[in-house]
Amino acid sequence: MPRRTERALLGSALGLSLAGAVLVAVARGADLLALPTGGPTLTFYQVLGVQLQVAAAFGLCHALLAWRRPRVDQYVLPVAAALTGLGLAIIFSLQPEQAARQVTWLWLSLALFAAVVGWGPEPALLGRYKYLLGLLTAALLLLPILVGTEVNGARLWIRLGSFTLQPGELAKIALVLFLAGYLAEKGELLAAEPRRLGSVAIPDPQLLLPLLLLWAAGLALLVLLRDLGTALLFFGTAVVMLYLATAQLGWLALGGVSFAGGAWVCGQLFGHVRARLANWVDPWPKIETTGFQPIQGMFAIAAGGLGGVGLGQGLARSIPAATTDYPFAALCEELGLWGAGVLLALYLILVYRGLHHGLRQPGRFEALTAAGLGCLLGFQALVICAGVVRLIPLTGITLPFVSYGGSSLLTNYLALALLLRCSEEPR
């Protein structure tokens, strides 16, 4: 029987998701002293309906995989389903009406996922259009600067009717594909005969030039976009892919240094970034203004303790933008340190699966793409979670699969679909 592992894991994940949502509903029903300004709530049957929709959508995806792609990775989809389910439980708890909308987005995302996995082009074909993808990355990042709307000092969104989209989300995938294509072709050359400066290997500048150009362009765009989180994510992913393609530590060092430099420059240039840095170091004096969100997040985390207060029983609604930027804090409150550890472990598994496939055929486009996408998803989670617990300065990016938001969910499932396609074992 094909894909038995996936079926069993997916069943558990969907069971968890259902249990989570039901527990939220039960806790809310029992909680007679819920805040009077809780906003609209869903009935128990609506919650159940939403969960059945989720189960149906993932079941269909599993059937499609079993039919069309029986030899792709079996762990990634259940992990994504578990994350989505946990995310829905958290959103139910925070903003019930958003959970209903999130399910609509989930249908769309899984339709895109199915289309790409089932009938999308061979991944290798994408690799041929690497320079086009490089241009696409730049274009997607530029788009909101030209026609975007500014939210919280960052120009990341474009408005289409009643929807707002974040093209930067898609740009991340385009960047991974471009880097994978480029490195699959030039990686060996980059690694082959490095010049040495002391113990640090420096590749041939001629090969490096296109990459440096892209980095410079990306940094320039991000300076214009003023979003530190996306910048960190781009650099992290690019550095890891370079490292994977060339197996040289020099890239990690170079990436780290150049990013630190970029961040410092950003901090010097923009009040918006500087305020975030100041908020990171000491938010307490500004508790009523810029420090409010991080401190409310800290309250939520502290309230959670070891095992949390229970699903649906947290008060993380007090955090501004809780469902998009701070679902991690809400999860910490309701499921505690244990639940947060589980969440982080799930992302770590995504990274590991990506690296696992990257290892199988080192240097190939598919392998690099799989590793890059796995790292992209994992790093994004790491950047926002570390920001919420104030290990690093906070950056307003979404928690993949968990946060409320259409464009985030769509691109995450697109990345997942590409990861799965690239993980296909040869016959």
Binding site: A8, L9, S12, A13, G15, L16, A19, G20, L23, V26, A27, A30, L33, L35, P36, Y75, V79, A82, Y243, L244, A247, Q248, L252, I287, E288, F292, Q296, F299, I301, A302, G304, G305, L306, G307, G308, L311, Q313, L315, S318, L335, G336, L337, W338, G339, A340, V342, L344, A345, L346, Y347, L348, I349, V351, L355, L359, G378, L382, C385, V389, R390
Partner: protein, 511 residues
């Protein structure tokens, strides 16, 4: 339900862990190539990043949550009311150990029970998860709340019980019987009663009316109280500022006795009233309006004027003195003091208002009869009365029995205070005194009434009283909003409180 909510938490967490363990345990195929060094480096870096985040979070959860900035910012945390389960909250008792606030189990839920209900509402305040805290529950929250152990120790309820034995109740200086008697005496009229022990500053009773029942705080009632034009949530004893009227006259007398003014001076008090220099409006005695054909008191000395509360007399005295000594004396007596009963916020009295010390004679005359930009809270006036009763030694008020009594401050010269003391017995003891209703058999009582005109309608009725006059153990201040005359509306309330105090043994204690 509670058991289910507790159990589901653990079951769900266990399921989460089980799920992750199923995904994580991926066996490497036998013939797989070894993991290259570069990848091992990378993996360690990634795992390190996740681990650092997790450990940082764990550290914050268990350690930083008890840090100073967190505790300081805690009032911004809406969970504060929820985490501080009332079941862990300390009980509150009165000065003799009689319960005022207890925590009881009601339908499986811990609730605060306020033994006196509305009668002590403005002392106890309330504790509610949604509507927050007020009164003592707010002001002394940090002493009433018992902090739970750090999160990891919460796992065992029994262990926690052992670690935190039932905390001792918080003792107040309030006397439960006196508090109840004061509330009953004031009844449903708008106003306030403050009862103090002048020597230690102990607050024996504090009533503000109308009030609310702290046992019955809920959404509908809270909205109703907020919308009520009589403002039952307002603590009139601490936050109500009223013109003092004739109860200010002892301050004017103190100011006069402190200057070179001749105490033997007599001023004429006639039916025509007194016309201050450069003024058109006459100041009249209250009898002039009440009794037709009243012929006036004639020439009065200080004691007689105090006894019958002669406005014309004190207006003339005020003009003779000028505003500066009066304002100075009021300041010395703590008129503008921000009296703090306990803790922070809620149980702090508003400072009284004084006019500037440069007034026109007409305004000085009105100042001398307790009008003109002169405002005081009932507690503020009780403090003034207590300082007079205490022979000029000022003791700040206190509400908590374990609060140390600070050393008294001599704000009036002792000899002057002795003369004032005998002067203040005149309204009670002398013929025609306005506070004769306060006489008690066997106990000398000092007191002064007041009927303060105000823009809202009838005069506010005041009385300040203390007994035994020579060595006071109880000071009573009563305010009845728009009660009319002090003698008619406020004196019976003060008398009832004094009787209750005598029954409780306070007046005998000094003998």
């Amino acid at each position: 339900m509670e058991a289910f909510l507790a159990a589901q938490r653990l079951i769900f967490l266990a399921l989460l862990g089980w799920f992750v363990s199923r995904v994580v345990v991926v066996r490497r195929p036998a013939g797989a190539p070894p993991v290259p060094r570069s990848l091992r480096w990378l993996r360690s870096a990634v795992v390190g990043g996740f681990l650092a985040t997790f450990l940082w979070q764990a550290w914050w959860t268990f350690e930083r949550a008890h840090s100073a900035p967190y505790r300081a910012a805690e009032r911004y945390d809406s969970r504060t009311w929820r985490l501080r389960d009332p079941s862990d909250r300390r009980a509150v008792v009165d000065r003799w150990g009689r319960p005022l606030i207890r925590t009881v189990r009601f339908g499986g839920q811990a609730v605060r029970r306020y033994e006196l209900g509305p009668a002590a509402a403005h002392v106890s305040g309330y504790f509610h998860r949604l509507y927050g805290r007020a009164g003592l529950e707010e002001a002394c929250d940090d002493r009433l709340a018992t902090w739970r152990q750090p999160a990891w120790e919460q796992l065992s309820e029994a262990a926690q019980q052992a670690a935190n034995p039932q905390p001792l109740p918080l003792a107040l200086t309030i006397d439960r019987a006196l508090q109840q008697a004061a509330a009953t005496a004031l009844g449903s009229r708008r106003g306030a009663v403050v009862v103090l022990n002048p020597a230690a500053g102990d607050l024996l009773a504090l009533v503000s009316s109308p009030c609310y029942d702290p046992n019955l705080v809920d959404a509908a009632r809270y909205r109703q109280w907020q919308a009520d034009p009589d403002r039952p949530l307002l603590n009139r004893a601490l936050a109500g500022l009223y013109p003092p009227g004739s109860t200010f006259k002892p301050v004017v007398a103190a100011a006069a006795l402190a200057t070179t003014w001749d105490p033997a001076t007599r001023y004429e008090s006639g039916p025509a009233g007194y016309l201050p220099p450069f003024e058109r409006q006459r100041i009249r005695d209250h009898e002039a309006g009440e009794r037709a054909g009243w012929r006036g008191h004639g020439p009065l000395d200080l004691r007689q004027a105090m006894a019958c509360s002669a406005n014309t007399w004190f207006a003339a005295l005020g003009v003779a003195l000028g505003p500066a000594p009066i304002v100075r004396t009021a300041q010395a007596l703590g008129w503008q003091e921000r009296w703090r009963l306990a803790g922070r916020a809620d149980l702090v009295a508003l400072p009284g208002r004084l006019p500037s010390d440069r007034l026109r004679p007409g305004d000085t005359a009105r100042l001398a009869i307790g009008q003109h930009e002169l405002l005081i809270t009932p507690l503020g006036l009780a403090q003034v009365a207590a300082t007079l009763a205490n022979y000029g030694r000022q003791v700040p008020p206190r509400l908590l029995l374990d609060q140390p009594v600070p050393a008294p401050r001599q704000v009036l010269e002792a000899g002057l205070a002795t003369r004032l003391n005998s002067l203040l017995q005149a309204p009670v003891a002398d013929r025609g005194g306005t506070a004769r209703g306060l006489r008690l058999p066997g106990v000398a009582v000092a007191g002064k009434t007041g009927s303060a005109q105000n823009p809202h309608g009838r005069a506010h009725a005041w009385v300040l009283a203390y007994a035994p006059a020579e060595r006071a153990t109880v000071v009573v201040v009563v305010l009845v909003e728009q009660g009319g005359s002090g003698s008619a509306a406020a004196v019976p309330v003060a008398r009832a409180v004094l009787l209750a105090a005598r029954q409780a043994g306070y007046l005998e204690a000094a003998r």
